[in-house]
């Protein structure tokens, strides 16, 4: 796996939302809630991303329950690993930012 992988904000929040099984609209709501309303995934963007992430094997579509036509998705092991790598990268970003800007911020 490529260690220098950088996720987009949309991808990051979609993967994070899918630590629990979710359907598309659930991902939209959870992302908006987690980001305090700042990140709003649009339907076209989310839909394209879900297909692409399935193709990559980072998420999977769960079998559709009878009586429901809503597809649910869940993170795979590979997806979880990607998310952990990204978190590590983000921590470094924040740490470096704080080292240089920290004093001014305080």
């Amino acid at each position: 796996m490529n260690d220098s992988l950088v996720l987009t904000e949309s991808t990051y929040y979609i993967l994070l939302s899918l630590c629990q099984p979710q359907h598309g609209y659930g991902i939209m709501q959870q992302t908006e809630q987690m980001s305090g309303g700042r990140v709003r995934l649009a339907a076209g963007t989310l839909y394209g991303a879900l297909n692409a992430l399935c193709d990559k094997g980072w998420i999977i579509q769960l079998p559709v329950e009878s009586g429901s036509r809503k597809k649910e998705y869940k993170l795979t092991e590979k997806g979880l690993q990607i998310l952990h790598n990204e978190l590590k990268r983000l921590r470094q970003l924040v740490a470096n930012g704080e080292t240089i800007l920290g004093k001014e911020e305080a």
Partner: protein, 171 residues
């Protein structure tokens, strides 16, 4: 309910201008209600009550899951014209965007470019065959179409490049 029909032509590569025009109409109290070939049907609404968007969406890609997602996010599907689907959303239900990042906007433009490229190549092919076999005039018409489509492709490419340039330093 007060209604109004306007006939207007937009080139496929000017879809952003078409959207802007529809959005302006909605801001002035005329909201798109249904579409036909070069025909737009509007209903009288409060100015700015709705936001209108359109998307290049081949029939094969418009499935139940996507339709559900649009509906749940508050968008109402108004109709399809060939490869384009029109939506509106009440402004009070929040901002209305079909794409929320640069990557997906670039992807949308790429799909439009792909279609234009296929039709251009087909026109060149048929144009050459027509020039050689049946009618030189028919052949010229095909080649003129191809020239126009090439111009359109250039326009789409320009929009795509502008976004890709932006993408180099932000999402």
């Amino acid at each position: 309910m007060e209604r109004r029909t306007i006939r207007k032509w937009f080139w496929a590569w000017d879809f952003d201008k078409e959207e802007e025009w529809l959005e302006n109409m909605a801001q002035n109290g005329w909201t798109l209600d249904s579409v036909g070939f070069c025909t737009y049907h509007f209903i009288k609404t409060e100015p700015g009550e709705y936001s209108v968007r359109l998307q290049y969406l081949p029939i094969a890609e418009e499935n139940g899951e996507y339709a559900d997602l649009m509906e749940e996010s508050g968008a109402e599907r108004l109709g399809r014209m060939v490869q384009w689907v029109y939506y509106r959303k009440k402004s009070e239900d929040g901002s209305f965007e079909l794409f929320s990042d640069l990557d997906s906007r670039i992807g949308h433009l790429k799909k439009i470019a792909r279609l234009l490229l296929i039709i251009t190549v087909m026109n060149i092919g048929v144009g050459i065959i027509n020039s050689c076999n049946s009618s030189i005039h028919l052949g010229w018409i095909n080649l003129l179409c191809a020239a126009l489509l090439t111009y359109g492709l250039g326009r789409i490419h320009g929009k795509k490049e502008a976004l890709e340039k932006e993408r180099r330093f932000r999402e």
